[in-house]
Amino acid sequence: MTTQLADIVTGIPSLRGVFVTAMPDCLLYDSWCRPEEEWIGEDVASYFGDLVRANREGLKSLGAWSSEMQVTIESGNILLVLRELATDFVVALAFERNAPLGMIRLHVKRLADSLLDYLPKVAPEDRPRGVRVTEFLMRYAPDSHAAMRRVALRTGIPIATLEQPADLSTEQVALLETAVRDILGLEALNI
């Protein structure tokens, strides 16, 4: 798998890394980095997925969303482009900061086409909402070591029950979701 992704990205001189995130669960599907990079795909993939999802919702509320949209971030010594591939994946491409933007756009377009052929057509498993809400909490909660206990206290649901989020009842998921929203200070969970 890794070899195939490496084959696809080979020959792009300014490319430092590629992270493919499977949606909607924001889990790392595949990644490639230059040997000298110390990035860990698992650490960043979920944030890229969430970022693109938030961006999509924001654009939709402005009536400005299109499936071709991409996010470009210029930061420090990196230029990052995030793009949705169909509805199943988000790809994040990290380029050298001084690479010409025009060339980057060209590379992104070509890579997106190649990746669409390379990535499987996924029939996403409909994972229980309780699982996804719990994962979202653990990803973003401050003091994550205490996050589940805080939810237990807020909801009255025992910790042991919360530790099996796939088995939560509809009512319990609703309580969980409210607690997570309040802990994170969000009006809604876009998951």
């Binding site: 973003y140 909660a141 401050p142 003091d143 994550s144 070591h145 205490a146 206990r149 805080r150 237990a152 206290l153 807020r154 009255g156 025992p158 910790i159 309040d182 802990i183 994170l184 200070g185 969000l186």
Partner: protein, 421 residues
Amino acid sequence: MDFAKLRHYLPEQDLMLLGKTPVVYHCQHFNLFLDQTIDDALGPTDGAELRLRAAHEAAYPLIKSVCAAFGASTPAERAHIAERLFSVMGHGTLQADATATGGQALGHHLHYGYAWREKYGERVRRLHPVDGFAAGYAAAAAEVSANLPCGSLVSKETSCIALRAPHCEFKIIPAATGVECAARAPVEAEEYLANTRRSFGGKHETQITEIADGLKQFTAGVAGDERGLVQAFGVLVTMHLTGYYNRISYDAVKEIQRVAPQSVGVLEDLLRESGHVCVFRTFGGILLSPEWEAMVGAPGEDPEQVVVGCLAIARALGFGHWTLAEFAPGKRLVVRTSSTYESADYLTRYGTATSPNEYFFQGAALAIMQLAHRVSWRSRPELTSEYYDELFRKGVPWTLKQTSCIACGDDVSEVIISAKD
């Protein structure tokens, strides 16, 4: 005004007072986590209300007694002393402009709001003001200044830096007629002393006493800077009122026992966690500091010496006469004390407890075991939130049991930390 002269300790009990009022030193990690736990338990409205009332009730007798100690005789003098006291204790700058008919207060660099923004502001959006303590203090300060009984005024935070406002604002108004008075009789030096037990020593007693005495001398000169904050040992330190901590903790437990008994265990666990994070970050920060290295020597890899240092720190911060009863590296720690700031307050306010409930003492003992075994002192790690999360996300390798408790009527309080099988 030399506030430091008002600070003293109950002899042989290592409980600290400012004038007649029981106080301790606590960091922002403890303060924020404890307040958050109260709001998690009771919800943002009732939680904030309890915090506000507790602050009001605890601050009033302190401000009144300090004003009396300095011979303040006019409203302006009393308002000035209340303002200075707040800053000296490390809570920020709070300027109240209020009379018997109400008014307002303005807060800058308030400990809770400032620390919340520093610690959590980039990660989560807060929906409710955080400075319940300052709100209660502002009402109490205005009452003392105007020579009113406690409960005459109420205060509400209307603008908060934790909600990204430029500063904090409080509205102070007369309490509605018939509203429950905010204050019960204060727990002061006499009650504090009456609820300690006969003092005793433990292993390394001489060394612990010497270090604690040195630290007490050092902290005597610690006071808020021009912001009214105490930034030391890698934390933001406050001198705080035990009456505040104890009321919010024990009232919340009582309320959860009443309305959601199935959640009492997790509430107690989170109350312990506030002690755990406090000791890990504050005691750890002290052990890592150049000041500690100069006074005691840099911590090495001997866990027993780390425990000794921690017990001395606990005494200097006013937590009680914590002693080392037993220690087997990697296996077992037994901490015993004749006094804790929790039991002294509990016995006065609530009577005898039916089960051990010195949550801070419990969490602190566990954290001492962690510091002794899970930190590589020679590498001088930064004790960040990420470091803490990483270390404790998968739980801890120890079990904790409080085997006796002064609040239950026992002669000592004792916590045993043992390695998990």
